[in-house]
């Protein structure tokens, strides 16, 4: 008994202890839940506050200037403003619309801020004649001297595999958007407290019978929370946490704030490595225009995408997307947001997506250059998060032309082109602004920006630098006779180098201008050895090459690897008369409040003797007229003066073409990433890409005032002897004042048209 009572006592004692333990556990759990809940609430609050500032820098193209006399046809301008998302509407209902006639156009231009100046939104009326703007007037019919259009948003400097968004302020959100979102995603948004029990019960029943979570019962607030934490696991625990956080958010923020955050936050599509978040960016991504200008059918498509941007991807699955868009329109009609007629009208529309050509998807290469230039002044963190606006020098028309030319240049190579790719750089020589960069033929970044990072042998592209050193030495001029005959060069290792001309020929004595025009190797080696490797390397460095050549004789034929952007810098200095302007892709940067953070002004330095550069450039014009560039030359307008140079490296591994007019410099390169032979020379591969780009743009002829120290003289192109304009093969070259071409007067025939025709068919070597 005693034992029993003892055991009874002890049992009641253990019972009390157990109760105490239970209470302790309950208390501890409660405290833990409280702490955990507090932590969750704090975490979601921090996300909500913090997200507002997590904005990759936005990069804008140069705005298009409109003025009387500008070389721009109606079709060019239509292409430009369609890229900006302007749409044709004969009524001109508001900013972002235009109407077009055969030789006239009216544009309801958007207002915008650029470089601290406000461009007013106004209606511009333009007339065109002979491929130029012939009249520019405002709405009051008053003459406008100069107007510009809003700059194209070309992309963002988002982190690798990161999110990108274009924030829209509450005032920029069309009122129909939140209404439509509520109708489709969360009908009781205005009344619930973050979770919607009615919807949850309904969904639970469906899910229990289906055996897994299928039907979404998530409120807009819950979707917002889910988007913050990027979790798509469908567990009850996750749902619970999400619901708790949603309630926490609702307690702290107003419905308007939550809706605004949702509109800027929600995931709406994938653009390569870039995740498209928010309606602002999605509007640009799918339709190429600001959210405020969307038509009803377009707005409905974006709302449709909320449910699953991959499944309903309008570019990959247009039928599914269309079906869901029309469903959204039906819901909007049932909720009384739109009339039946509006719904029916919108349902008749097609998806209306911008094509990839309009979006110009290969701008990644240009953005790479922007990022690289800004990296000198801004840490990645600042570029990727601080909401900066970057005003770049990109010319969308030049970019589109270069991309098209590279695609067209690679296409005919067919299977042989396997692994062959290319790059194009376009600049404005005088100001050093980079107008376009193409880093490969594919529209998406494949990890290799060839324009900036492909270091390749430049071949004959070195020759202008070589002859510039010769001319600067004062011992040579364009009429100097140089020998196109075999030469043996003893090398340091005891071997002998026997360079050859491309066609293995030997023409004997030729004038320097012809040696450069026909890209003859033997005279180049002879002159180069005479001038010295050191002065040539010095010229290269002065012109802007960052990589130094090894001072071997093979350098004279271009055994020197440079990147396309470096070559562009080199030739830009030539095109600019010997003034080096560092190539710039960025004009200025402003912060999120519109305060100017940096401006990158034009900087120039005299890098070479202006007269010697003038002489070289005149020889480069002869490259195009008579030499290795003549076949390319024929693809351009007959009255356009251009200067250029082909380049081909050993075993046809690299095909280069660099050339310029007064306001345009283009460098094109083709080659295989693994550096095997391509079978292309400078004039068969890259030259096509070069001329394709040049043809699409409105180039003005290369012309530079003749320096005082030079005088023009006619010489016989073949022999370099004195000649005259009337002679068949005469060429006009600048020579230092007082210098006379050597030898007896030479004139083989003196007719006009016959000689010119002969010239036309005779030339065109490689």
């Amino acid at each position: 008994m005693a034992r029993r009572s003892t055991s009874k006592r002890s049992r009641s004692k253990t019972g009390r202890a157990r109760r105490r333990t239970i209470w302790a556990i309950v208390g501890a759990s409660f405290a833990t839940a409280l702490l955990y809940g507090g932590w969750l609430a704090w975490q979601v609050g921090r996300e909500f506050e913090g997200r507002r500032w997590d904005l990759p820098a936005k990069v804008y193209a140069a705005p298009l200037d409109l003025y009387v006399g500008r070389a721009l046809g109606v079709r060019d301008l239509v292409a430009e403003i369609r890229r900006l998302g302007y749409r044709e509407d004969p009524r001109l209902p508001g900013p972002g619309t235009y109407r077009v006639g055969s030789n006239r156009m009216e544009i309801a231009a958007r207002s915008f801020e650029y470089a601290g100046e406000t461009e007013p939104g106004r209606t511009l009326s333009l007339e065109f004649s002979a491929g130029r703007i012939s009249a520019l007037r405002g709405a009051d019919h008053g003459t406008v001297a100069l107007a510009r259009l809003d700059p194209l948003l070309i992309g963002s400097l988002f982190p690798a595999h990161g999110e990108d968004r274009l924030i829209v302020a509450p005032g920029e959100i069309p009122s129909l958007l939140p209404a439509a979102l509520k109708a489709v995603e969360d009908r009781r948004f205005d009344s619930h407290f973050g979770v919607d029990p009615i919807a949850m019960v309904r969904a639970s029943v469906v899910n229990l019978t289906e055996g897994e979570i299928r039907q979404g019962a998530s409120t807009i607030t819950q979707q917002l929370v889910r988007s913050y934490f990027l979790s798509n696991e469908r567990t009850w625990w996750r749902k619970l946490r999400e619901a708790f956080m949603a309630v926490a958010l609702e307690m702290r923020y107003s419905k308007d704030e939550l809706m605004g955050a949702y509109i800027n936050e929600i995931y709406l599509g994938q653009d390569g490595a870039r995740a498209v978040h928010g309606f602002g960016l999605a509007s640009q991504f799918y339709f190429g225009k600001p959210l405020g200008e969307l038509e009803l059918n377009e707005l409905a498509l974006l709302v449709a995408e909320v449910r699953g941007p991959t499944y309903y991807d309008p570019r990959r699955h247009p039928d599914r997307a269309l079906q869901r868009r029309n469903l959204v329109l039906n819901v909007m009609r049932k909720e009384g947001l739109i009339t039946a007629a509006q719904a029916a009208g919108a349902q008749e529309q097609d998806l209306g997506l911008v094509t990839s050509a309009q979006r110009s998807a290969t701008q990644w290469a240009f953005l790479g250059l922007v990022r690289r230039q800004l990296a000198k002044d801004y840490p990645a963190e600042e570029l990727e998060r601080k909401g900066l606006s970057v005003f770049s020098t990109l010319d969308p028309a030049a970019q589109a032309a270069a991309e098209r030319a590279l695609r067209d240049g690679l296409a005919p190579l067919g299977n042989a082109a396997e692994g062959i790719d290319g790059a194009v750089v376009v600049t404005s020589p005088h100001t050093g602004e980079v107008r376009a960069v193409v880093g490969g033929g594919r529209s998406e970044f494949d990890g290799f920006n060839r324009a900036l990072d492909a270091r390749r042998q430049i071949g004959s592209l070195i020759k202008p630098a070589l002859y510039l050193a010769a001319l600067e030495s004062g011992r040579y001029n364009l009429a100097s006779i140089v020998e196109d005959s075999p030469i043996e060069v003893p090398l340091e290792d005891g071997k002998t180098w026997s360079p050859q001309d491309f066609d293995k020929g030997a023409r004997g004595p030729v004038p320097l201008v012809r040696a450069l025009a026909e890209s003859l190797n033997l005279p180049a080696v002879r002159v180069g050895l005479d001038v010295g490797l050191e002065p040539i390397a010095d010229v290269l460095a002065r012109l802007g090459a960052e990589h130094k050549p090894k001072l071997y004789p093979s350098m004279l034929l271009g055994a020197l690897a440079l990147t396309p952007i470096e070559v562009a810098q080199l030739y830009n200095t030539l095109a600019n008369g010997g003034f080096r302007v560092p190539l710039r892709a960025v004009r200025g940067v402003i912060d999120e409040n519109g305060k100017e953070l940096a401006r990158y002004p034009i900087e120039i330095a005299q890098a070479a003797d202006a007269a010697a550069v003038y002489e070289v450039n005149q020889a480069l014009v002869q490259v195009m007229e008579r030499g290795t560039g003549s076949s390319v030359r024929r693809e351009l307008p007959a009255d356009l003066t251009v200067a250029g140079k082909t380049g081909t490296s050993d075993d046809l591994r690299d095909s280069w073409f660099a050339g310029f007019t007064n306001d345009l410099l283009i460098v094109a390169w083709l080659g295989a990433d693994d550096n095997r032979t391509t079978g292309l020379t400078g004039s068969t591969g890259a030259a096509k890409v070069w001329s394709g780009t040049m043809r699409s743009l409105h180039a003005a002829s290369y012309e530079a005032p003749q320096p005082d120290s030079l005088e023009m003289a006619w010489i016989d192109y073949a022999t370099g002897r004195p000649s005259a304009e009337r002679c068949t093969d005469a060429v006009r070259v600048p020579l230092p004042a007082g210098v006379r071409p050597a030898g007896a007067f030479s004139c083989d025939g003196s007719d006009g048209i016959g000689a010119r025709l002969r010239r036309l068919f005779k030339r065109g070597v490689r």
Partner: protein, 134 residues
């Protein structure tokens, strides 16, 4: 090309330009000295072409000490009319005014390579070069 440079881009300044061309006889030259724009602008003409408008704007901004805005105006003009010597002189003036004398001298030298001999722009460039070197 010759035809185009003589017909002039500046339809609005057409009268002035044509008058000037008639005086200088552009049509007869084999090598036209850099025509219209440079001349009309550097002669402080009030031709309403875009670069002339922007040049006047830059000068006004420079006069009030707004060098940043002046630079923006003249750089915008240069993107339209890159080989206009008068604009390079103006950019040099903005440089000089904002304490960048070495840059100003280079701009003047650049302008001299673009300006036809004995033009107003060449004289302006020489004067700028002299002041920048002081």
């Amino acid at each position: 090309m010759r035809v185009r440079s003589c017909s002039s881009r500046k339809a609005l300044g057409a009268v002035l330009v044509i008058a000037w061309l008639a005086l200088t006889g552009c049509t007869g030259l084999t090598h036209p000295p850099r025509p219209d724009t440079t001349q009309t602008v550097s002669a402080h003409n009030d031709a309403a072409g875009p670069s002339a408008t922007l040049l006047a704007q830059s000068r006004a901004q420079r006069a009030t000490g707004s060098y940043t805005q002046a630079r923006a105006s003249v750089e915008r003009a240069l993107s339209i009319d890159p080989d206009n010597a008068a604009l390079w002189v103006e950019l040099g003036e903005v440089d000089l005014a904002s304490g960048r004398a070495a840059e100003a001298a280079t701009m003047a030298r650049k302008a001299l390579t673009l300006a036809p001999r004995d033009s107003g722009a060449a004289a302006d460039a020489s004067a700028l070069l002299e002041r920048a070197r002081r």
